[in-house]
């Protein structure tokens, strides 16, 4: 049976693009969640939308699961082929089809690496705002399927806000186009926004028209320290009240600062939080708002407020954010696992304190990076992945943190999504009825449940 299927797939994509040896398959058994693993039966690597149509049609007929995969950088087991089947590796479909400066649009295939697109757009003075941390290795297909955000999401929103239309191969093998290639469109149900963030459960994105914008003329970066997390929260509120919307407001907690100090032998203030702010706009605008923000930070009780003038200084201010992620695993000797939730801004200081309380109880070291401007928090767990009891405690802690976020009026995921990691928590957030609607949508798209089964509780 499998031999026959392999033969048919080989006819579609060629021998070398159907992988079936254990050595070729094994690296597709995991993603950056690192805690879920499952072997696919086959990996198929299409080059065109038409090939995707043929593969999916065959899979649907034979009821074989299909897991679309790009850079494999998600944190929630999103591309782990938990029910086996075909991993559809889309990294060969990596062409930027068009960059249209006048229409403020670019058309791309799903396997384009985010960082490569950013570079190409940069050459035309454009940018696409979503900026996931894995920019250099994640693909646009993945960014869209997971509705990724990033630091700039504060000012510009997530992937969903920057996509105009899609070409999608449905689970039955039909190809549809969603949305339009215009900057506005108001026609029927918004299938584009439904498919963006659906984590590969509704179809395979084979092309996307993205909304782009001219890159800002100038950016400025500021950093500050706070002795109390509440003061940091108040400062963020004051900045918004003043009419300024920064591009980035990042918060690093004491554990991150300490790790950087220890790792690099620095003597950064032993504060409760360090904050990084970035502003963009015209040169004049940036200069004025930077002064305003400096003033607000000082008034809110920040210490060591610094503003970067040159590119080198900007890099320097990024130090804690950048080195924090490097320092943590090396100091703890453990695997760092970034988790994700989001709360209303007013509840952020409370949420940060509660994370630490819960972490202490479960005895899992947790450091916090937060996109504080939009209430999105990433508790970074340090865990020994080879110790089952520690992993169990880590999973329990993650669950408790998510429930805490819900209690504070927040959400269990700001940007990482659900995948396998939070499937069981879906109902807590969405409620039974909402989940039922989602499941009927899934059924309408994918009656045979072949598209990324076992994810998102649908």
């Amino acid at each position: 049976m499998i031999e026959q299927i392999v033969q048919r797939l080989v006819r579609v994509v060629g021998q070398r693009n159907v992988l079936s040896s254990p050595e070729d398959l094994y690296p597709y058994s995991l993603d950056a969640s690192l805690q879920y693993r499952a072997m696919p039966s086959l990996v198929v690597r299409p080059y065109t939308s038409e090939e995707v149509v043929e593969i999916v049609t065959l899979a649907n007929k034979e009821k074989i699961p299909v897991v679309a995969r790009g850079g494999g950088t998600n944190f929630v087991g999103g591309v782990v082929p938990v029910r086996g089947g075909i991993v559809l590796d889309l990294t060969r479909m990596n062409k930027i089809l068009e960059i249209n400066r006048t229409d403020l649009r670019c058309d791309v295939e799903p396997g384009v690496v985010h960082g490569d697109l950013e570079k190409e757009l940069g050459k035309s003075g454009l940018f696409w705002p979503p900026d996931p941390g894995s920019s250099e290795s994640c693909t646009i297909g993945g960014v869209l399927s997971t509705n990724a955000g990033g630091m700039r999401a504060l000012k510009y929103g997530t992937a969903r806000d920057w996509v105009l239309g899609l070409k999608v191969v449905l689970p039955n093998g039909e190809m549809i186009r969603t949305g339009a290639r215009t900057l506005k469109s108001n026609v029927g149900y918004d299938l584009t926004r439904l498919i963006v963030g659906s984590e590969g459960t509704l179809g395979v994105i084979t092309e996307a028209s993205l909304k782009v914008r001219p890159a800002p003329e100038a950016t400025s970066r500021l950093s500050a320290f706070f002795n109390e997390i509440e003061k940091a929260g108040a400062a963020v509120a004051k900045i918004f009240e003043s009419g300024v919307t920064p591009v980035i407001v990042e918060l690093m907690d004491r554990n991150v600062i300490r790790a950087v100090n220890e790792w690099l032998h620095l003597s950064l203030p032993d504060a409760e939080a360090s904050m990084l702010i970035e502003l963009d706009g015209t040169k004049e605008e940036v200069e004025n708002t930077a002064k305003k923000v400096e003033h607000i930070l000082a008034e809110a009780g920040a210490t060591d407020v610094q503003r970067a003038a040159s590119k080198e200084e900007m890099e320097q201010l990024y130090l804690i954010r950048r080195e924090g992620q490097i320092a943590l695993p090396r100091l703890t000797g453990k695997t760092t696992m970034p988790h994700d939730f989001c709360v209303p801004l007013s509840r952020l200081p409370e949420a940060l304190r509660k994370v630490q309380e819960l972490a202490e109880k479960r005895k899992i070291p947790v450091a916090i990076l937060s996109h504080a401007g939009d209430g999105n928090v990433h508790p970074i767990f340090s865990v020994d992945v080879s110790d089952p009891s520690e992993m169990k405690r880590a999973r329990e802690l993650n669950e408790e943190i998510c429930m805490m976020a819900l209690d504070l009026g927040g959400t269990i995921s700001g940007e990482h999504g659900i995948g396998m990691d939070k499937a069981e928590l879906m109902e807590h957030e969405c409620g039974e009825n909402s989940l039922r609607v989602m499941r009927s949508i899934k059924k309408a798209f994918d009656p045979n449940n072949i598209m990324n089964p076992g994810k998102m509780a649908v």
Binding site: S21, E23, P27, D31, L34, G71, E136, Q325, T335, T336
Partner: protein, 427 residues
């Protein structure tokens, strides 16, 4: 079943966050179609599979680990500081021990073992000192110029690479047979096959020593008795053999009272500087790359090339930049030559792009030559007429890349360029 030692080593890989940044810089991956099993992150996962007993040693698995130039681009990119190249070698070690490598790799490794023990990886120990004829270099001294068999005999490497281009695996068979040919004394034949390029590699070494002599740096050279550093053993996964060989080499140096080594070949230099301290107890020989010595001793007055003004670009060899940490010294040398304009390629210094060397160019000539072509294209995009570097394997690959791309640029070793400019100074 994997050894407990391997499982212990694999623990370091738990730091890996699977972020995939390494994928963005891997030269092998760039030439592939991005499949996950190729490149550093894939090799990490495969290493875990091997260590945890999920994957059995096999030639297919071995190929994944041998397809790595150990250029360290991924190491410098990795937030967790993991050197996947090191794991490639550990895996090769495991797979060679399990005899789970292809017959060709087996033949190459046995040929290398034999060559190393006889003082020349290409088996050309009888001719390797020819470059020093006519030069006045003592045999004994505290500071040794380590000429390296890769440098002195790389013309044979070029000939082997040529042979490998013969289709239908005939080339592979000839390469496999080369050891036998060498041992029965047919190296004379090789001398003539490699005629065209022998001069280049031999002159490079001669120019290096003459340059040192001009600057008053006294060096000795062991000639035919110079041992091979054995780095190729390590590269191919023969780690135990390397360890044993390194101890022998240390003994030879100790008996001769060697305190300092100056190398031209950064691969041997890197072995002495970074591997020997790990494998040999009490290794206390100072190791310098010749460009470090030249840059330090170079006169303040500006030097001129006898020819007209030249635009040159400098290729940082991975082993010099990312293992020996030498990036500014070659540039200092080039900047002091008045009629040279130095233009930097997009990828330079620690961010250099590998040119496909690293010891696997004979195992995977096609992939490695593609890498060489792509690096040459990048280097000539600067508009340079000369591509300058200082590594015999980079010379081999870049010359090959120039030929394949038809680029209008010439490969010149930095020491030849320096000697040309400095020979007028005094003797």
């Amino acid at each position: 079943m994997a050894s407990p030692g391997l499982r212990e080593l694999a623990k370091k890989l738990y730091y890996c966050e699977h972020c995939g940044l390494c994928r963005s810089v891997c030269p092998i991956l760039r030439q592939s179609s991005q499949e996950e099993s190729v490149g550093p992150r894939g090799r990490k996962t495969l290493f875990l599979g091997l260590a945890e007993g999920q994957l059995r040693p096999s030639p297919v698995l071995a190929e994944k680990f041998y397809l790595c130039t150990t250029c360290r681009a991924c190491y410098f990119k990795c937030p967790a500081g993991i050197d996947i190249g090191e794991f490639s070698i550990l895996a090769r070690h495991e797979l060679v021990k399990a005899r789970a490598v292809s017959p060709f790799i087996r033949r190459v490794t046995s040929s290398v073992t034999d060559g190393v023990s006889r003082g020349d990886i290409f088996g050309a120990s009888r001719t390797k000192a020819k470059w020093s004829r006519g030069l006045d270099i003592p045999v004994n001294g505290e500071t040794l110029f380590f000429a390296s068999c890769m440098d002195s005999s790389m013309a044979y490497g070029e000939a082997l690479l040529r042979l490998l281009q013969i289709p239908l695996r005939i080339g592979e068979r000839l390469v496999s047979a080369s050891r036998t040919l060498q041992s029965i004394g047919l190296y004379h034949l090789f001398e003539s096959v490699a005629q065209g390029s022998l001069g280049f590699y031999r002159n490079t070494l001669a120019d290096t020593v003459k340059s040192l002599q001009i600057l008053g740096v006294d060096v000795a050279y062991m000639r035919e008795n110079e041992p091979c550093c054995g780095v190729a053993l390590h590269t191919y996964g023969l780690v135990d053999e390397f360890s044993e060989h390194a101890r022998k080499v240390q003994k030879i140096f100790a008996e001769k009272g060697v305190k300092r080594l100056i190398t031209h070949n950064p691969i041997c230099g890197a072995a002495f500087k970074t591997l020997y301290p790990q494998f040999v107890k009490d290794w206390n020989i100072e190791v310098k790359h010749v460009t470090e010595v030249i840059a330090e001793k170079m006169p303040q007055q500006d030097l001129r090339l006898p020819s007209k003004k030249a635009t040159v670009t400098y290729h940082d060899p991975c082993f010099l930049a990312r293992y020996m940490n030498v990036v500014e010294e070659p540039r200092t040398i080039l900047r002091r030559i008045e009629n040279i304009q130095l233009v930097e390629p997009p990828h330079n210094r620690l961010d250099t792009n590998c040119d496909g060397g690293g010891g696997v160019e004979l195992l995977y000539p096609d992939v490695c030559q593609d890498i060489a072509e792509s690096r040459v294209k990048e280097l000539v995009s600067t508009g340079a007429q000369k591509i300058v570097s200082c590594c015999p394997v980079c010379a081999l690959m870049l010359k090959e890349g120039i030929k394949k791309t038809g680029a209008k640029a010439q490969y010149v070793d930095i020491m030849t360029l320096f000697y040309e400019a400095a020979k007028g100074l005094h003797k």
